[in-house]
Amino acid sequence: MGPLPFLGAALASAAAVFAAGVAIGNEYVYFASYTVAQYIVLATAWNILGGYTGYVNFGAAGFFAIGAYTSVVLHKTMSLPLLLMIPIGGLVTGLIGLMMGYLTLRLRGVFFAIATLALAIVLHTLIINWSFVGGARGAYIIRPREVMLFASYSQYLFAIMLLLAALAVATARWVERSRLGRGLAAIRDDETAAECSGVPTLKLKLVATTLSGFLMGIAGAPFPYYVSYVDPAGAFNLAYGVNSIAMPLIGGMSSWIGPLIGALLLGTLQQVATVTISSSVNLLLVGVLLVAFVTLAPNGIVGLFEKARKKKSDG
């Protein structure tokens, strides 16, 4: 299936999910589904650099938060519609991804990973010390009272995040199957050999960090409207960092399906656990699953399926 038909299918699926949500009509359903859809975007974004290219980003929370805080700044300085804030947030984080890549991608993958963590913490510290956005105390964002075409603002946010999820997944699939994606896979498999096969590794890695950063930023851009109160602790929450790694890893890092499955499963699981047990236990669960999968099933759920399928066709 070509990229455009797939995009159509993704959008149609998103519309179907939206319709189902509206039919249920429960605010909590919008709330929970928004979070899962947000994780689809984050996990998919992470995987472009992580699973496709082989470079681990520990600082997803930083990109997410900057997307959110860009919206905060825009909200406080001009009155832009959310739909415009989203791409602007993405552009800012895309640029950060590019700069970070430029500074650190010449180093080994290990140092890149540590540098991503460093970046997240540096960004966190900058935001804490920036009084314009409320510093450590945070900022309040008043949602518009009503919005055209939608019954409530929550419903509107739900629709937007579903749209972003569809776009993110379609983009990831398009990259995966393109010449760019093949080059990224070569880099992941063996960077030196890729370079010796003519792959411009630095350039492609920069594309990956920029695109990944962009998508993580757009996941964060609607966040202030979602929570109404943004503070650094919430925006830079470690849960985003861990989930954006755990979800692709558990789902399967080699294709666009993995992050989707991982986000759906783990996201739903966490929503359930947070409500029934506690939010700390749910985080513990994510950590344990991450370690279990990386030790026992490194190719994720998708990998397990493939193994089972191979066994069936061989046996």
């Binding site: 992580g50 540590i114 540096v122 010390n129 470690l238």
Partner: protein
């Protein structure tokens, strides 16, 4: 004496004292990452674990925290060996260290923090020891004992580790493995056993340093994250596996942080270590005393 000059001198002194402590906290990473190429970013989790163990025993039995962790260090050492075995079987042996190994340790770090949060809650914990509180005064220089005592013990630990690595048979084996594992195998030694010992040592030093930490400041589960930047900054700046380099780099970091905290405010301190790390990686990745 002029207030600013006095402030400056004390900032530097505090920085040096803190730096000694940072060295003790970081030698584990100099061993596991600098020498053995194992990216144990969960290292801070073991430091905080050490802090909470010291806290618990100190709370219930009243024993000095530093003493507690030294006594318990064999247990931490064994924990380190167990972790290395797990890492080796699941990752090193299959050649998957890079991405999967990183994700693994990140998961461990995360589990560590959340588990401690569940057990102890998010409140800051402190210990009780006679040297937390008094300050030695030497002219214009203040030497808070809660910094000075850990500093002395830390330097002792660093020296002990360096002596171990350079003077004992196993220690030299560790240095040999870090430089040329194949040659070691050809000589009949088992690199895996030596690496296990080294990793055990790295975790033991982390946990022991955790006792120093909770003397210097109150501890809660999430402060481990600040230490990721610190230990890797020190390790890289120090030249990846050079123990003297680690000490030097740690003192530089300590002074830089102390400066920043004194003159710009403590909320900027976490950024110093990471900033220093990024700077070192960008400008001189081989560090100060690098191989």
């Amino acid at each position: 004496m002029d207030l600013t000059l006095s402030l400056l001198i004390n900032a530097i002194v505090a920085g040096i004292l803190l730096g000694g402590f940072y060295a003790a906290v970081s030698i584990g990473i100099s061993i596991s990452f600098g020498m053995l190429d194992i990216v144990n970013i969960a290292h801070p989790a073991f430091i905080i674990l050490g802090s909470f163990v010291a806290y618990t025993v100190n709370l219930h039995l009243g024993i000095d925290p530093i003493l507690v962790n030294f006594i318990l260090s064999p247990a931490f050492f064994l924990l380190g060996i167990a972790m290395y075995r797990w890492y080796y079987v699941a990752f090193e042996r299959r050649g998957r260290e890079s991405l999967s190994g990183l994700a693994f340790f990140f998961g461990i770090l995360f589990i560590g923090e959340v588990a401690l949060l569940l057990i102890f809650g998010a409140d800051y914990r402190t210990v009780h020891a006679p040297y937390i509180g008094p300050t030695l005064e030497w002219g214009a220089i203040n030497l808070p004992l809660r910094l000075f005592v850990p500093f002395l013990v830390s330097v002792g630990v660093v020296i002990a580790v360096q002596l171990y690595l350079t003077r004992t048979f196993t220690g030299r084996g560790i240095l040999a493995v870090s430089q040329n594992p194949v040659a070691l195998q050809l000589m009949g030694a088992n690199p895996q056993r030596i690496k296990a010992v080294a990793f055990g040592l790295s975790i033991a030093t982390a946990a022991v340093a955790g006792a120093f930490l909770i003397i210097i400041q109150p501890v809660e589960p999430s402060i481990g994250r600040e230490y990721i930047g610190r230990v890797f900054a020190v390790c890289v700046l120090g030249g990846m596996g050079s123990i003297p380099g680690t000490l030097l780099a740690a003192i530089i970091l300590g002074v830089a942080e102390s400066f920043t905290a004194t003159f710009y405010g403590p909320s900027w301190a976490p950024a110093v270590s990471f900033g220093l790390l990024l700077l070192t990686l960008a400008v001189r990745p081989a560090g100060l005393l690098g191989r």
